[in-house]
């Protein structure tokens, strides 16, 4: 019977391990600037720096690093040297919350850029709000983060005063994709898939509402587990449903293989997703089968904005190994918004950082307004960006190419 008890222990370990996918955190201290005296202000970064979503996470970290370096070079805020402290959340809400606690504990941290995932943000918001530490996400698109759980029922209520974001919400991203598909691409039969995460399910829901309103039909719905790479059963369902387009609410680690498997099974229909699939890694993962797939992303393409030319050039010059990806510009702007707020504090206080700076940074954020990489950066009464630009991209000839930019009509 000894063997049997070992087997039972092992089974328990197995089941437990399933829920605890690779935990642990690794501190990645950002490159510290030399700094010549004066006050040090740390801008925290929280993003997935390892794992499936690391391409996006490293883009965020590097862009914040660039903003901080430039502020120091220019001596943008007199007497203040900025530093970054980047922590890895591995896209796990539990790690995100630990990181939030760590950042709160460091008195020099006056603002945090991140996280990437809406689900991670949910676990961090209260920690930051209790400590009155400002948080600016370059990538969260879930509307409930800034407008409360009942945002869709007309009753918008901001849950946390310390939460801001430079990214547009799914409340307009999903409908924007629906309008493009029905009105421009004339695809009226969709198969809807999401990964059940805050971001994916929210995006799919807002898409579905607008799509059916515009007269499109939903041929089928399913949810996938993004940890798995075998989507054969879903793919078979898609094929026999006769849909002419697939909408996926989720991120590229699952969307890439899913798109590839759909086409390989013989269903030549495009997969459409949100900013979570707008990544060079989606192209790599979906391979040549992914040609023709569509993604919406927040803002206008960074490369086409005159305001972003400097950012793109400086990013290149700084020699970062990883690309800035979808959120680079938004991360730079998020960091710069914090820098602007700190500058206002210092200027108003006669060149010195006032006491209780954290709470005052939140107040100052409300008045921030400047021309950033992604356009005008300022925040509305919910902490959302006032920039509501969106763009549809298509996977064409081995890269994402912008197809249509605009605001929600």
């Amino acid at each position: 019977m000894r063997h049997r008890s070992l087997l039972i222990i092992a089974s328990v370990v197995t089941t437990g391990a399933l829920t605890l996918t690779a935990c642990g955190s690794r501190d990645a201290k950002g490159s510290d600037s030399a700094g010549g005296g004066g006050t040090t202000v740390v801008i925290g970064v929280d993003a997935p720096l390892t794992g499936d979503l690391s391409a996006l996470g490293l883009g965020i970290k590097n862009s914040v690093d660039l903003a901080v370096k430039q502020a120091n070079e220019k001596g943008y805020v007199k007497g203040v040297t900025f530093e970054i402290n980047a922590l890895d959340d591995q896209a796990q809400p539990s790690s995100g919350q630990q990181n939030a606690t760590k950042l709160v504990a460091d008195k020099n941290v006056l603002g945090v850029v991140g996280p990437l995932n809406s689900s991670v943000a949910e676990s961090m918001q209260k920690v930051f709000d209790d400590a009155k530490l400002v948080q600016v996400s370059p990538a969260n698109t879930s509307p409930s983060l800034s407008q409360g759980q009942n945002w869709n029922g007309g009753e918008k209520k901001r849950p946390f005063a310390s939460y801001f974001r430079t990214a547009t919400t799914d409340a307009i991203q999903g409908p924007f994709a629906a309008q493009y598909l029905v009105n421009t691409a004339k695809k009226k039969k969709v198969f809807l898939i999401d990964d059940k995460k805050t971001y994916g399910a929210g995006l799919a829901a807002t898409f579905k509402a607008e799509y059916t309103k515009l007269g499109g039909t939903v041929a089928g719905e399913d949810h996938v587990d993004p940890e798995t790479k075998d989507f054969s059963s879903v793919v078979t369902k898609i094929k026999s449903s006769g849909a002419d387009v697939v909408y996926y609410g989720g991120e590229y680690p699952a969307a890439g293989p899913l798109s590839k498997q759909i086409k390989k099974a013989g269903a030549k229909i495009p997969l459409v997703g949100g900013d979570g699939i707008y990544s060079a890694d989606f192209i790599k993962l979906s391979g040549k089968e992914g040609e023709g797939d569509l993604a919406t992303s927040v803002g206008a393409p960074v490369e086409t904005l005159p305001s972003a030319k400097d950012f793109v050039a400086n990013y290149k010059k700084a020699g970062y190994k990883d690309r800035y990806e979808a959120y680079g510009g938004y991360s730079y702007d998020a960091a710069w918004a914090i820098i602007e707020a700190v500058k206002k504090l210092v200027d108003d206080n006669g060149g010195k950082l006032p006491d209780g700076a954290r709470g005052k940074v939140i107040e100052a954020m409300k008045g921030v307004s400047f021309d950033g990489v992604t356009g005008k950066v300022s925040f509305d009464e919910f902490g959302d960006t006032t920039n509501k630009q969106l763009t549809v991209y298509q996977y064409k000839g081995g890269a994402w190419a912008p197809v249509k930019s605009g605001t929600l009509g």
Binding site: R2, H3, R4, L6, L7, I9, A10, S11, V13, T14, T15, A17, L18, T21, A22, T50, G51, D52, S54, A55, D195, K196, D222, H223, V224, D225, E227, T228, K229, D230, F231, S232, S233, V234, T236, K237, K239, S240, P253, G256, P257, K260, Q261, K264, A265, G266, D281, K284, L285, G287
Partner: protein, 309 residues
């Protein structure tokens, strides 16, 4: 229901892969009663071994020529790591409390994952794996892709070779004897240390073949690919009756088919929409495991000592 044949094939393919990896769990357990949780990661390193061979070959090499070399490369890497793990991580603990090697296995699993993550070039996210061009092929209502053909051939061939090896060769019979009673086997002149190494090596070789199949089927390998698949393969081994090599394959296929059918049809049962869909496939796989363990704790084929090897 007209998609049923296709769903069954989907399940069969997924299950064959589980089965190939499950063989390693079951053989090692059969002989040393150790659940080698690092086996999923040995599977993963096999995938990276095959990828390395592909990257070293001159560009333009056809996959048909490269494939045998890639399989050999995968097997070499996986077997080296498995044998090394046996020699340096498990052997010193043999005879100690049973939990010690189990914990070591979990630690080794994490270490291997992190090692590939840290040191293999660009392995921090998925790396693309070459794919066989052509296809898909249609057989009535069934569509089969080129990547699946390898699996359809490799799984039965591997099973046949393994069956022959265990039943007919000297070493194979030595394995059976060691599984039945290590001490007596030793007295009969069987070098049990060598037999244990062979069990680890064979399990790793089949995992490596499974990893090549994984790469060809999904077009990518990544440092975490062995984690969930390893858990599933372990489940398959328990399902089929741990210690029984045929049970591993049967358990793998049963698990793959059950998972696929659950993902495809549970949501169509009235009132079960919430529990259907691919996101619940893992949950249903473990429901199946629990049911089998409740009603047939020895697994589908049982762990009869005579078959254990």
């Amino acid at each position: 229901m007209n998609e049923l044949p296709q769903q069954l094939v989907n399940g069969l393919l997924l299950g064959s892969m589980y089965g190939l990896v499950a063989i390693g769990y079951t053989m090692v357990y059969g002989i040393v009663q150790l659940i080698n949780f690092a086996h999923g990661e040995i599977f993963m390193t096999g995938g990276f071994g095959a990828l390395t061979v592909w990257l070293m070959l001159p560009g333009g090499t056809t996959l048909w020529l490269a494939l045998p070399l890639m399989i050999i490369g995968a097997i070499i890497v996986a077997v080296t790591i498995a044998v090394g793990a046996e020699r340096f991580a498990y052997r010193p603990l043999r005879g100690g409390p049973r939990l010690a090697p189990l914990i070591t296995a979990i630690g080794l699993s994490l270490a291997l994952q992190q090692a590939v993550w840290a040191w293999y070039p660009e392995a921090k996210s998925s790396r693309s794996f070459p794919e066989i061009p052509g296809g898909p092929y249609h057989l009535g209502p069934i569509t089969i892709q080129t990547g699946d053909i390898f699996l359809l051939v490799a799984a039965p061939v591997s099973m046949a070779i393994l069956g022959y090896f265990v039943m007919r060769t000297r070493t194979g019979r030595g394995m059976q004897a060691t599984a039945q009673d290590p001490d007596t086997a030793k007295l009969m002149g069987i070098n049990t240390d060598r037999i244990i190494v062979v069990a680890f090596a064979l399990g790793a070789a089949f995992a490596a073949i499974g990893a090549v199949a994984y790469g060809l089927k999904y077009g990518e390998v990544q440092f975490r690919m062995g984690f969930l698949l390893g858990l599933k393969a372990f489940t398959a081994a328990v399902l089929g009756g741990i210690g029984n090599i045929y049970g591993a394959m049967i358990g793998g296929i049963a698990l793959g088919v059950a998972e696929t059918l659950a993902a495809a049809y549970i949501s169509e049962i009235p009132g079960m929409q919430q529990l259907g869909g691919q996101s619940w496939a893992n949950a249903w796989a473990f429901v199946l495991l629990i049911l089998v363990l409740l009603f047939r704790p020895q697994g589908l084929l049982g762990e009869r000592v005579a078959d254990r090897a």
